[in-house]
């Protein structure tokens, strides 16, 4: 009884509840108002799916659909590339013993997390302009791969650390080549980490606005830059419907990643 008492502070539960309310209230309000039948964003005109229909068939729908397609393609490709690069880096950092420049490499992997986003954005814009790359899906993709690497690396490296190398040792004692030991033993054991790494990189790429906005060039839009452009002229109901859809996608992805992470833990 006494121990329970020491863990409790009056008011902490109330603050936690307040915290949850502040975190969810804006999202909840926008989701509710996305079903508003009125063209005004202030007055409530009854429940309808009008704005969801508008998102898919309305006058602005081609613009947003193209932007969504760009976002999706970039996020999948950036996620895949970053995961590949991060997996290879994680093997070097955790399975190749000591080597020269290991600390520097670790710093390099984490560099995208340390440089402020707006600085990365400016630097990328200057770089792509200087080498004569005109902005488009290509420049966005290259920038995204770069800043996604540390996000993919985190769960992959964490997973690799928790997998002892005795399985690979055993395989190699049975005359497996290092490549076979990697492909047949380490890779399957790493899968939950690799999958979480991909999901994380995917969401981070999908989330990015600032860097994309700098390097995208004229005419090319991703979903966040298209939404930002629209919001600058005022929040409209169709934006709330798009927001609610994206919110739904995020929640599905987080739940998925959480379930996979849990199943991965259960197996080991």
């Amino acid at each position: 009884m006494k121990q329970l008492d020491l863990r409790r502070f009056p008011g902490f539960f109330a603050i936690t509840l307040l915290c949850v309310v502040v975190l969810y209230a804006p999202l909840l309000v926008v989701s509710v108002y996305s079903f508003n039948a009125s063209t005004s964003i202030t007055n409530w005109g009854g429940v309808s799916l009008e704005w969801y229909v508008d998102v898919f068939t309305g006058p602005e729908s081609p613009k947003f659909q193209r932007a969504a397609m760009n976002s999706l393609i970039i996020a999948v490709l950036a996620g895949l590339c970053a995961t590949l690069i991060a997996t290879s880096a994680a093997v070097a950092m955790h399975r190749a013993g000591r080597f020269k420049g290991k600390t520097a490499t670790f710093a390099l992997i984490n560099l995208p997390l340390m440089v402020p986003e707006v600085v990365t954005a400016v630097a990328s814009l200057i770089f792509f302009t200087a080498i004569g790359f005109s902005g488009g899906v290509g420049t966005i993709l290259l920038a995204h791969i770069t800043f996604c690497i540390p996000f993919a690396y985190l769960p992959i490296a964490a997973r690799m650390q928790s997998v002892p190398d005795s399985y690979e040792q055993a395989a190699m004692d049975l005359y497996a080549t290092p490549w076979e030991a990697f492909r047949l033993i380490l890779l399957p054991l790493m899968m939950p980490g690799i999958f979480s790494g991909f999901l994380l990189a995917f969401i981070i790429s999908l989330d990015d606005f600032l860097i994309t906005n700098f390097v995208k060039g004229a005419g090319v839009e991703t979903l966040p830059t298209a939404i930002f452009g629209a919001v600058k002229q005022g929040i409209k109901p169709n934006i709330m419907a798009i927001s609610t859809l994206m919110l739904g996608v995020s929640v599905v992805f987080v739940t998925l990643s959480w379930l996979i992470g849990r199943s991965g833990q259960a197996k080991t």
Partner: protein
């Protein structure tokens, strides 16, 4: 073969000798698309501006001069300190600092509450607190704007309940920006504190209670010092992205809450179009962040040695 390597996974040497081949993609990608660009940006900050964007390859200190010194309208007066941009930076530091404080004041009790639940409930609470973070930042910021604007649901509700008789006028203020930053980065505060509290040994609290320390005395003299590394990590993780944030100040703040992110953006995407000046401002921002991170890293190594 490497079979004699000692147990620990991180000292494993199975793929010894392949490190450089495995790391080549990382080095190339981050090197070419981040290190080189940052170096190029540093160079650009010392070049001459070309009108409507771009640079002329001629060495010049004009960008830094414009940032720090005021030489009058025609540039012929004796230089005085130019406060415009220093004020913007100072305001950004303030705003980021207050947002960090807000995160700390809400984040610590929340993290403490979560970490002292049963193991099962901890996961659920953590999920509840982190899920909003995975929602697109732009959408979260727009949602916040929608909620707190003068005609928005928050004011409508407060007016209806009779608590206020005119809208709060929260939108386009510094407080709105702080709220937006708080909303953007709160999980960065909660998670490291949670990790620190989870490792906290409650025998310490018992010992303090045995010595007649009250609850709050224990918190102040025992718990907070022990979990301090988590608090500091959380503060840095919130402060650094807040400092260069663009969306929250741009969408929630007014002209009076103009921050570094918008200043830099304006030089490249907006009307200002002064690339060397934008690069110089970005360099100064990066320097501040690097100093913060270095001081932090120093204190970490000192603590590890002690």
């Amino acid at each position: 073969m490497a079979a004699m390597a000692p147990g620990g996974a991180s000292s494993s040497e199975i793929y010894k000798g392949n490190a450089s081949r495995l790391l080549l993609p990382t080095w190339v990608v981050i090197g070419v698309f981040l290190l080189v660009p940052v170096a190029l940006m540093a160079t650009y900050s010392f070049l001459t501006k070309e009108f409507r964007g771009g640079v002329i390859w001629e060495f010049s200190l004009a960008a830094y001069d414009q940032f720090f010194l005021d030489r009058g309208l025609f540039g012929d007066e004796p230089p005085r300190i130019e406060w415009t941009f220093i004020t913007i930076f100072w305001r950004s530091i303030w705003q980021a600092g207050l947002a960090t404080l807000l995160c700390l004041l809400i984040g610590f009790p929340t993290a403490w509450f979560i970490a002292t639940r049963e193991a099962r409930m901890r996961t659920v609470w953590l999920l509840i607190v982190t899920v909003p973070y995975w929602v697109n930042l732009l959408i979260r910021t727009v949602s916040m704007k929608f909620l707190i604007r003068d005609e928005g649901p928050l004011n409508a509700m407060l007016l209806w309940s009779g608590l206020i008789d005119q809208p709060l006028g929260l939108i386009n203020t510094n407080l709105a920006v702080q709220l937006g930053l708080f909303y953007s980065y709160l999980p960065f505060m909660v998670l490291p504190i949670y990790a620190a509290v989870e490792r906290y040994d409650f025998a310490l609290s018992e010992a303090a209670a045995d010595l007649y320390a009250g609850r709050w005395t224990t918190l102040r003299l025992v718990i907070l010092p022990v979990v301090k590394p988590g608090l500091i990590a959380g503060c840095i993780l919130v402060f650094v992205p807040s400092l260069g944030a663009f969306l929250a100040p741009d969408l929630l703040g007014g002209a009076k809450s103009f921050m570094i992110g918008s200043l830099i953006e304006e030089q490249f995407k907006g009307a200002a179009g002064n690339w060397p000046f934008g690069a110089a401002a970005a360099m100064i921002l990066m320097s501040i962040v690097m100093v913060v991170l270095l001081v932090y890293a120093r204190s970490q190594t000192r603590e590890a040695k002690a």
